[in-house]
């Protein structure tokens, strides 16, 4: 599947990058509780995800 990137309408101002840090990982037990939810929509995530994401195009609001 192709890579897709969401873009920002305003480029970020030049800033010093934050100090690199390792993101905390969810605990194994908590992660397992999420699996059934992800299982429920596995077809959605694997089928035409790119097409769906790229179909999301609107005019800006406020």
């Amino acid at each position: 599947m192709k890579q897709i990137h969401r873009t920002s309408s305003r480029s970020a101002e030049p800033v010093d990058p934050p100090e690199p840090v390792d993101p905390p990982a969810p605990a194994a037990a908590a992660g397992q509780r999420l699996d059934s939810i992800l299982d429920d929509i596995s077809d959605v995530l694997e089928t035409d995800a790119l097409t769906f994401v790229q179909s999301y195009a609107q005019q800006g609001g406020q």
């Binding site: 890579q3 873009t7 800033v15 934050p18 840090v21 905390p24 509780r33 089928t47 790229q54 609001g61």
Partner: protein
């Protein structure tokens, strides 16, 4: 917590997508897929009489309409209690999804193999942004400049508590997780132009009330929240900081030297520890600033009401959890943490990197209001997204306005006029019967939950 009027305005995103299994051939046979503009028009047409307009005040005190860019928008009723605010805000999701369900049924009848998805988020896939605006009443006698500076010091780092979590593309083509969508789009601290300037606070002076007594602080930098607890935290924490400012407290020393640069730094660091420079030359992180704000709020003292205690407890636990790196302690209460945990889990299961389309699709599923296509209902039912209101409160807010504000008067009038088929003109601060014709009744006190004039009108014609 000082009695204050709260309100939320949520602009919804719309996707018109081919239904699963529909082939391009059948799409052509059924006609072109509707545009977003056509879909929104259909949503507001294919509905019962009470909604057959694009600008409608509702019996529950809220307002449903179409805003700039063909975004369905729901403005909550005026509320003084956080549970009223959350419940009334959630009612908006139900109303807009109901419109989409009805329109989808029409599309199905017409053989159009497309479905309308309503998303509670703040940017499309190409960087067009739209908002979730927060309203807080303030006394006209308050020092407006002081309130703006205080809000700036709060709002630059507040997303570490109240962001929704999102994926964005960096200049080098990589994709990364950020705590807030809107933080990427905010361009200045204050302005009266919310569309071109995109400030933290919209300074347009539009109180929708007696302007000699009140101002309306209009915060437009926040994300839409899926978790009820994040909605309550967003409004409650901001209100406590406004209380501090109105009683002489100051956060001026915590202002970043470059607020927009600081906001981007905070947004790219889910640990809350990345530092930026303040106007006094100190190097502080989002955690540092929010802890200092919490300390000053507690030093001033909070009223013995359960709302304030709940807010302070969640802020405290969130900052502790972030400092410890154990996000599971707040894994169901903060929007961005809910989103991050799901994305991280999916990456562990599939091995994909952050730029993979399936993760962008997952973010949209989290924000999709549909009970079948969206994940919020599943997350709530499984305890992975916390509740703030009871089911009874959420149900009640669909038809009944808050009982403690002007919304009670307006909502009752709207329902009464609709039941009798009377033509009426309604705005936030007035009601008027146009058929039969009666004089306009101004409702200039947003805290006034009763009106003798409106009661007399209803009695006369009932």
């Amino acid at each position: 917590m000082t009695p204050r009027i709260f309100g939320l305005e949520t602009e919804y995103g719309i996707i018109v997508a081919r239904r699963p299994g529909a082939s391009p051939t059948s799409a052509r046979e059924g006609g072109e897929l509707p545009t977003v503009e056509q879909a929104v028009k259909l949503m507001f047409e294919a509905t019962p009489n009470a909604f057959r307009t694009t600008n409608h005040f509702l019996p529950n005190g809220g307002r449903l309409y179409v805003d700039i860019g063909s975004h369905p928008e729901y403005a909550s009723a005026e509320c003084v209690r956080l549970d009223d605010l959350v419940a009334n805000d959630q009612a908006g999701d139900r109303f807009v999804q109901d419109l989409a369900d009805t329109a989808n049924a029409v599309l199905a009848e017409r053989g159009v193999p497309a479905g309308i998805h309503v998303l509670r988020n703040n940017a499309d896939s190409f960087g067009q942004t739209f908002g979730c605006h927060e309203n807080y009443s303030a006394s006209r006698s308050s020092d407006f400049g002081h309130l703006i500076r205080t809000l700036t010091a709060l709002l630059v780092t507040r997303p570490i508590l109240t962001g929704c979590g999102d994926l964005i593309a960096e200049a080098d083509g990589s994709t990364r997780f950020v705590v807030s969508t809107r933080s990427e789009h905010i361009a200045t601290t204050s302005s009266a132009d919310p569309t071109k300037e995109r400030p933290l606070v919209n300074t347009k002076d539009e109180p929708h009330a007696d302007r000699t007594r009140w101002r309306r602080l209009h915060v437009i930098s926040g994300d839409s929240s899926m978790a009820e607890t994040t909605t309550a935290l967003k409004a409650g924490w901001t209100a406590l900081v406004l209380d501090l400012a109105e009683h002489g407290g100051s956060l001026d020393d915590l202002l970043p030297e470059d607020p927009m640069a600081a906001m981007r730094i905070v947004n790219r660091d889910i640990t809350g520890r990345a530092r930026f420079t303040t106007v006094e030359g100190r190097q502080l992180s989002a955690l540092d600033v929010q802890r200092e704000i919490l300390s000053r709020v507690l030093d001033r003292g909070i009223a013995e009401d359960h709302q304030a205690r709940w807010v302070v407890d969640l802020v405290t636990r969130s900052l502790d959890a972030l400092a410890s790196g154990n996000l599971d302690r707040i894994g169901t209460e903060l929007d961005w943490v809910v989103t991050w945990r799901l994305l991280q889990r999916q990456r562990e299961r599939t091995g994909v990197d952050w730029g993979h389309a399936s993760l962008a699709r997952l973010v949209l599923a989290i924000r999709d209001l549909s009970p079948t296509a969206g994940l919020a209902g599943r997350l709530r039912a499984s305890g992975q997204m916390a509740a703030y209101c009871t089911a009874e409160q959420l149900q009640d807010a669909l038809t009944n306005p808050p009982t403690t504000t002007r919304a009670r008067v307006r909502g009752k009038f709207v329902g009464w006029a609709a039941e009798r088929g009377y033509r009426a003109s309604v705005d936030w601060s007035h009601v008027r019967l146009d058929g039969p014709i009666r004089p306009q009744i101004d409702l200039l006190d947003p805290f006034a939950s009763r009106s003798g004039d409106v009661a007399a009108l209803l009695a006369e014609l009932s």
